[in-house]
Symmetry: C2
Subunit: 470 residues, 2 copies
């Protein structure tokens, strides 16, 4: 039975949906398989803050009846999924990984939770995260760190670290995260799964604990590109008129020729771990082997974007915690790192905050210019593989810097500009740590982005490898 459950736990959503349609499996079996994985692996990995086992079983029995009588009503019907614990779930506590909200039970569902419920997805639990999503490591002082399933002494990345670890371990088919500076791309990159941060506002954040209103996005974490597409279809808001609609069934049909990839001239590329760079280079060769054209695109404002986007992040985060009455009133209840950032946010000058939106406009124009020449822009999702838990600094590509600076550096531009971006597994280091290829697309360009990612995925086997945890 154990091996059988394991297989169920790593099905793709499309495969599971096909089996459900044929009544060859039941949602109850899918939930049992996920819960069995959680029971075995959550202790070492610490991916969940709350496991909603009883609720999930109840929802599974209901879905089983519904599917038996009239088939699955969506590709997610009967599929167990987790939510990052900063996403409101009615009647289920939503801690945001904080001491301050440790006992907070929302009276309303977030838009995300409501849309998943409408699609018939089953909630298996709420995942661990960096405190208030305000960090990139998921070393949570209140609920413990999330451990990387590929090396338990290493971080899973953050802030959606529990979501990434859960999906990598087969504890649910997918997870919904958030992404303010890489939080739904860095953990997937470090944990060897797919992460997708769509265009700003495509996922409603109503009922999500905010971090930085101007930079916050929803995110989808899944084991392959089609699964990510299916989940996004279920939770996305409406596209503006005239935009190509998402359809996971079309992903396999992406033309492989005449793809134009952009390689950014200015993307802090001087400081990338050698093995990460080698994996990215190999991925580029895969694209090139189909005749893809690779152009260097200038993004002249990228280098100067770090400071102003950081000012916006610091100021808006502190503003929110102040407005809620959490900070500085309950300063002692925060972890030291988050408290330090909240303190720094109080010192950002309004004129610098405002200037940040000028650089945002300039950088967005840079990307728009680039997308006149290329379909997607490529970069590492993280310039380094998963650092160790407790590690503060890291050296890579001849540069020593904080873990935070390294992990956020490649991802924040897509938050600043609101452009869709994703991380796709593209290899492993010699120590067996996953590497993620980041693809950044034009505004509302998820359909094209996912198609080019699926083409790559179909040509490689990286997404078929799962951490060997027992």
């Amino acid at each position: 039975m154990a091996e059988y459950s394991l297989d169920f736990a790593f099905l793709s959503i499309e495969e599971a949906n096909r089996l459900l349609r044929r009544r060859e499996i039941s949602p109850v079996e899918l939930v049992d398989a996920a819960l069995a994985r959680i029971e075995k692996l959550n202790a070492p990995v610490n991916a969940f803050i709350t496991v909603t086992a009883d609720l999930a079983r109840k929802q599974a029995r209901k879905a089983e009846k519904e599917i038996r009588s009239s088939g699955p009503r969506s590709p997610l019907h009967g599929i167990p999924i987790s939510l990052k614990d900063n996403i409101y779930t009615r009647g289920i506590r939503t801690t945001a990984g904080s001491k301050i909200l440790r006992n907070f039970v929302p009276r309303e569902d977030s838009d995300i939770a409501a849309k998943l419920a409408a699609a018939g997805a089953i909630l298996i639990g709420k995942t661990n995260l960096h405190e208030f999503a305000y960090g990139i490591t998921s070393e949570n002082p209140h609920f413990g760190p999330v451990h990387n399933p590929w090396a338990l002494d290493r971080i899973s990345g953050g802030s959606s670290g529990g979501s990434a670890a859960a999906v990598a371990c087969g504890m649910g088919f997918a997870s919904i995260g958030t992404d303010t500076g890489g939080s739904s791309r860095v953990p997937p990159a470090l944990c060897g799964i797919v992460g997708l941060k769509p265009t700003f506002d495509l996922i409603s954040l109503k009922g999500v604990v905010p971090l930085v209103t101007s930079l916050d996005h929803g995110g989808v974490l899944a084991r392959n590109v089609r699964d990510a597409c299916i989940v996004l279809e279920a939770i996305a808001e409406k596209y503006p008129r005239g935009v190509a609609r998402l359809n996971h069934r079309n992903l396999g049909k992406a033309r492989r020729r005449k793809i134009r990839l952009g390689w950014p001239r200015h993307f802090y590329f001087d400081h990338v771990d050698e093995e990460v760079r080698a994996a990215i280079d190999t991925a580029m060769k895969t694209y090139r082997s189909w005749g893809a054209e690779i152009k260097t695109v200038p993004l002249p404002h990228l280098a100067e974007a770090v400071a102003p986007s950081t000012d916006i992040a610091l100021a808006e985060a502190t503003y929110y915690h102040r407005a809620q009455g959490y900070f500085p009133k309950r300063a002692a209840d925060y972890g030291a790192d988050v408290r330090g950032r909240l303190e720094a946010g109080a010192n950002v000058a309004a004129v610098n905050y405002l200037a940040g939106f000028d650089v945002k406009r300039a950088l967005t124009a840079d990307f728009e210019d680039a997308f006149k020449q290329v379909d997607v822009i490529v970069a590492p999702a993280s310039p380094v593989p998963a650092p160790r838990i407790g590690q503060d600094e890291i050296e890579a590509g001849g540069k020593k810097d904080t873990v935070r600076s390294f992990l956020v550096g490649m991802c924040r531009p897509a938050n600043y500009t609101g452009l869709p971006a994703m991380s796709v597994p593209c290899g492993f280091t010699s120590a067996g740590l996953p590497v993620g290829l980041q693809l950044i697309g034009p505004r509302w360009g998820e359909a094209k982005l996912l198609a080019l990612a699926a083409a790559y995925e179909d040509a490689t086997l990286w997404h078929d490898r799962h951490p060997n945890l027992r």
Copy 2:
């Protein structure tokens, strides 16, 4: 001829338009009358930075021909009007009252200038103002102070001080100003004319030197309510659907009964000059004599609105001057008061700036609640009559404070909330200084606001008194 010109200079726009339609006068005569007033009075009053006499005469001859052949194409056709010198005029220098832009000649018209030109209005000149519109006195260190036409040793108010003095003196029929904290209501109140600051965004500020983007409004200064309405009709953007359209011809038809006036419980009313208070009380009695109902309305967030709205103003103003490269680079080129405010703006914390928008929302909700019960809210436009030039502090109603605090206090709430507001002449102090009644209306409620102001104006003679300058 001089007396004859004087009469022309003080016609209402409706009267002038009627005479133009009947070919009883020509735009050339209207322009000559205005220019004669300027020639005689601009030296003592200092209302204009640039007088466009040749251009005005040329435009007048063209308008004369057009009107002779097919009548006036709008109520403003052939009517001489001035523009505050922070409003771009193509080919005519636009100094914003500053040393920094002393020789700046825009290559494009502002939307305001373009709309006036399309209506056939004639530009007679660019009016003096507080440097960069960043002050309430129009004591301009580069172009000299604007003198109040009712008492030359007193200020005209600011920042549209030149516009108000010009209109009061018959140097043009109307003027377009801007209003960030009372700049198109305080000068009219102190100079005995009508000032109207419509709803935020109703007048496009494209091509206007910004002061505080979140609080900047256009403004209309005229000698009576109908004139103000005619000018606003010409320069307003489109109203949202379903909003009653402006029509100056309907203003006389306002029902006088069942008017509900709101008297704000919290409007810094403790500190108002006694003679100003008496004039406002008399105005209320006039309304009451028609059976108007006067209700006290609570605006609970008004008292706490001063600091956060000031933070927004300080921060956005400094941000603009920094982004333009004017400040601190050319700090020595500013007057001491503006330089001081720009320095203060650099110290506003982003978290306080952001919090300012929370208070803005709360105060706007207060006003919305009040407008469920009343048609307009009344207040003084200025709690004191015109202070002396050079005066820093003032005492009124038992309180000593800066001239700036007194003059801005009653006006800024309508900038903060974006609500339409106007000042209408309502009396004189024993020293012969004008007093203005402020009326604040609901969002997009200019039609009602102007109708109630016109009803008051029709019942009084204050607007018929002109300063006795020769």
